[in-house]
């Protein structure tokens, strides 16, 4: 069952112009951060969104919760049009959909104790009556496996992994049905990453949460997501069941990305580079398929038209003329 449905979503950011450009009346350029993205998130699943820097994965996440207002397209949550929500209705939506960010230190108020922070989320959204807030804070700390005395302490007193637990507890305070996590473990050491990944999977199973997990780490995506969307320069190039995509990637970019990830297994590199070239500038994206200048299989037609996502069965879609 679809919980969140995105259709034709686009977001552009005006580029900065220098003084010379202003004087010359050079038209203002725009960064095409997200272009025509359509995807569905099913209730209870983990959808991974993966791609390299500048592919638009974080912008897409922020558009879903309206931290950025999209320039086009539609987002519907549980049947309601998210982009049209105002006032109370928008506040109810915000309670349903919460974000967890990469840098928990940057997203936690350094002057508030953890207990106050969680209490604030509970009272702003009137989740429970004021008298029940302390008990609920204790329950939340239990849920993310933090000690009870954490409520009286400040963010700087915690390690990176514990701070991320606080970030997750705050997101969970308002009882959301969907969590959008943007690189939630990228800043953590490997040995600590594992415990946060475990926490996400455990919470999802216990609370029936739906999770959109944004990361550049393909190992994590492979391990914990049910479905994955691969983005390149603002567009989804391939989306489908994780196990199938990792076993038989169809889009040449997905193939290159998977081949480029170093395996944690002793074997000498074969010397073959997974894919040549650099990421093109989103200010001036290539015509046609954005990957064609780097693609080993590209043909003349690839530079002509942007390939649409086409169905390959079983919810698997690929945007490539040749795959």
């Amino acid at each position: 069952m679809t919980l969140l449905s995105v259709s034709g979503l686009s977001k552009r950011f005006p580029a900065r112009r220098g003084l010379v450009d202003v004087l010359r009346h050079t038209p203002r350029q725009a960064v095409h951060a997200v272009e025509q993205v359509s995807l569905d998130v099913m209730r209870g699943e983990t959808l991974g969104i993966v791609g390299e820097s500048g592919c638009g994965k974080s912008t897409l996440a922020r558009c879903l919760v309206r931290l950025h207002e999209p320039d086009g397209g539609s987002v519907s949550f549980d049947g309601t049009d998210v982009l049209a929500l105002e006032g109370d209705a928008r506040r109810r939506f915000n309670r349903q959909v919460q974000m967890v960010f990469q840098d928990p230190y940057g997203s936690l108020n350094p002057r508030m104790t953890v207990g106050d922070m969680l209490g604030e989320a509970l009272s702003v959204h009137r989740v429970v009556p004021a008298a029940e807030i302390p008990a609920r804070v204790r329950a939340l700390l239990d849920l993310v496996h933090l000690p009870q005395d954490a409520a009286l302490r400040y963010p700087h007193e915690f390690s990176g992994g514990q701070r991320q637990r606080i970030g997750i507890a705050r997101a969970l305070a308002v009882e959301p049905s969907l969590i959008i996590a943007d690189e939630p473990v990228s800043a953590l050491d490997v040995s600590v990453q594992a415990s946060i990944v475990n926490l996400f999977m455990e919470l999802q199973d216990r609370l029936g949460l739906t999770l959109v997990f944004i990361t550049h780490d393909l190992r994590l995506v492979k391990h914990m997501t049910h479905r994955v969307a691969v983005m390149y320069l603002g567009r989804i190039v391939e989306i489908g069941p994780t196990a199938e995509i990792f076993a038989r990637p169809q889009h040449p970019y997905t193939q290159a990305l998977i081949r480029a990830v170093p395996l944690v297994k002793a074997r000498r590199r074969d010397g073959e580079v997974a894919v040549m070239g650099e990421l093109p500038s989103p200010l001036n994206p290539p015509t046609g398929c954005a990957f064609h200048p780097r693609c080993p299989r590209a043909e003349a037609a690839c530079a002509q038209a942007v390939p649409d996502l086409s169905d390959r069965g079983a919810g698997w879609q690929v945007a490539c003329r040749l795959a």
Partner: protein
């Protein structure tokens, strides 16, 4: 392998800080053979970068360094300034994680290569220009002639790291020290840079010490690996030995915590607790408080690095147990 190119013995680095001394590196010994790629891996605060930077004496003045770094019969730590200047950049070159901060933003790339050539070669101006263009070509930067006159901000992240490598290689060094050279790069660019470095090491007959936190990067680039934890060396050995038969409890736990072989969505095996603070000396094994194999003596008796198999050393009291389990 004959006499090692570089031999580090009992390296200790202590930083004087307002809150007291911090023991960042605590008695580390290892060697680098000719043509060898040695990886140093560890999590943040393990002392891996400090170890690397101590070798060419690049640490800040608040660092106290002891031990020996024997380079072709001479101790780098005891070397006079003029000899050190010829070794640094000439025989031993270094590249770092963030090329933008290592490159001079107000000098064209060509001039930054030229500086090294002036310092370490006898080439004349025209020959230096040709050599600089040749170096950019070597690291895969196209249209080198134009690129030489461009500034670092005109290069992409991957191209900047290539330019850094070109600068490092300009005096034909025998040893390249690389500190997290691909950590800031995207995975497809990381793949390109690592393969470029491996190709250059093989073609130019260099040795390399590669510091990284990424076990995958180690597995796919290095011949040997040294695992560090809390300023100490846990284990050294060939990549195959260490990854397939880890003989230190920390190495084993680190490898087990990675997603990979297990079934999809299986719970991962995290390492409990936090890395120790390094502002207090630890009496026993630094990993003991987080270790599932810890014995009573691990808390009091510091394990010494010893070879349990050919060319495979561990500093773990449980080493014999792990060896028996591996069925070696």
């Amino acid at each position: 392998m004959s006499a090692p190119l570089l031999e580090i013995s009992d390296l200790k680095v202590t930083f004087a800080t307002p809150r007291g001394a911090v023991h960042a590196v605590d008695g580390v010994s290892f060697s680098v053979g000719r043509g060898e790629v040695l990886g140093i891996v560890g999590e943040s605060g393990s002392g891996k970068s400090v170890t690397l930077r101590a070798i060419p004496r690049l640490l800040h003045a608040n660092a106290t360094v002891s031990g020996q770094a024997t380079w072709q019969g001479q101790d780098l730590f005891a070397m006079d300034a003029e000899t050190l200047r010829r070794v640094r950049g000439g025989k031993i070159a270094a590249i770092f994680q963030e090329p933008m901060s290592a490159l001079n933003p107000v000098l064209p790339i060509g001039q930054q290569i030229d500086e090294v050539l002036v310092a370490h070669t006898t080439l004349d101006r025209a020959a230096r220009r040709r050599r600089a263009a040749e170096l950019l070509g070597l690291v895969g930067i196209a249209s080198a002639g134009t690129r030489l006159d461009q500034y670092p901000h005109e290069f992409s992240g991957g191209m900047r790291q290539r330019a850094m490598i070109a600068i490092a290689l300009s005096a034909n060094p025998e040893l390249l020290l690389a500190d997290e050279p691909t950590t800031a790069l995207d995975v497809t660019i990381q793949d390109q840079i690592l393969k470029l470095m491996l190709r250059l090491v093989a073609e130019l007959g260099m040795s390399m010490v590669l510091v990284t936190h990424d076990l995958g990067v180690i597995a796919e680039t290095c011949d040997r690996v040294a695992v560090m934890y809390a300023g100490r060396l846990c284990e050294t050995g060939t990549v195959v030995d260490v990854f397939e038969r880890p003989l230190h409890a920390y190495t084993r736990a680190l490898l087990q915590s990675m997603p990979g072989e297990g079934a999809a969505r299986a719970q991962l095996i995290p390492i409990p607790g936090q890395p120790p603070r390094i502002d207090k000396p630890v009496p026993g094994c630094a990993f003991a408080p987080r270790c599932t194999l810890a014995e009573p003596r691990c808390g009091s008796e510091r394990p010494l690095l010893r070879a349990l198999a050919p060319a495979h050393e561990t500093a773990c009291h449980a080493g014999e147990r792990l060896l028996a389990e591996a069925g070696a």
